[in-house]
Symmetry: C2
């Protein structure tokens, strides 16, 4: 447990100054859980009760669209946070599902814990601001990708950001994430 | 000036507790500017130096996509904030342009002013967190609309949210916002 919390401490320390005493009190609210490959951490339509911090493994955020088709929205790699943040903040049913693509260990941060931290930590609200800004950036990137980038550009950016993604994630999920067909993705891969 | 700042004070007071003294010091950094109909407040590729709070009038947030086509992304009505928030926060060139669709009066909040407020105001960071969360919600809604809603659903939600939008905004901007053709929009309107 202790070791698993080291990375999240580092990540949070990148956002805000937090001393040992604060950390001890704050991290006592965390819990750690391991999910098996393919296990569902959050099901669309359910309340997202926790923000997940990925210690080890890999998560896929996806949803079923109006036509009943499954769309992959986002991949959460090690040392990043994952959630349906709207469901979490507004306490409403989730629009997304979250699934483990590998055996995955996460730190769970509940609503009460996170919002308690905003009050308890000297820089708690700042942490909340920076987390919300990060979420905003992810969604902003997504919108830019959908509207302004060609499939090839989207593919190149993905590979640049996550060089080993093709080894870790099945091709049909990557194609769905890029909003292209699997055939199209094969063609892009083979053009290198 | 004083009257124009009343609405932004109300909006900020909905987010956080702010006393008279704090407000006087904080709002002394605001400036107020009026733009004529069609005037550009922010041009794509330029740095977004300010967050705009719309006191009166109406803004359109748009961008030119990879194919050189202009796409309307968002409308900012009275008593809401408008910006390319990523450009503003990261001090990078803007991906969007912002244009006045009517004669529009805005309160300008600069980066230094807003970030100064995070430190000066007792609840400054909380204000920043809630603003970032609001931005996140706007982008989240947009993504949900693109991926999961039919054109009719998107239209119905828009009309529900902004009942007088058809009177205030030219049809081709609304069609672009809904990512449908003007002909398609006419059909949706006439089906009522």
């Amino acid at each position: 447990m202790h070791h698993k919390l080291e990375t999240i401490k580092e990540v949070i320390s990148n956002y805000i100054e937090i001393n040992e005493e604060e950390w001890r009190s704050y991290s006592s609210g965390f819990s750690v859980q391991t999910f098996r490959k393919k296990e569902i951490l959050l099901a669309q339509g359910h309340l997202c009760r926790d923000v997940f911090f990925v210690v080890e493994g890999l998560l896929r955020v996806f949803f079923v669209d109006g036509e009943g088709e499954e769309k992959t929205f986002h991949f959460s790699f090690e040392n990043t946070f994952s959630a349906d943040y709207e469901s979490f903040l507004k306490k409403m049913p989730s629009n997304y599902s979250i699934q483990a693509l590998e055996d995955t260990t996460v730190v769970l941060m509940s609503y009460d814990m996170l919002h308690g931290g905003y009050k308890i930590l000297r820089n708690g609200e700042k942490l909340g601001r920076l987390l919300a800004e990060e979420y905003f950036f992810i969604f902003n990137d997504k919108i830019q990708a959908i509207y302004t980038q060609s499939p090839l550009e989207r593919y190149n950016r993905l590979i640049q950001k996550f060089p080993n993604i093709l080894q870790r994630i099945p091709q049909h999920y990557i194609a769905s994430y890029l909003t292209i067909s699997s055939v199209h993705l094969s063609r892009l891969k083979n053009s290198y």
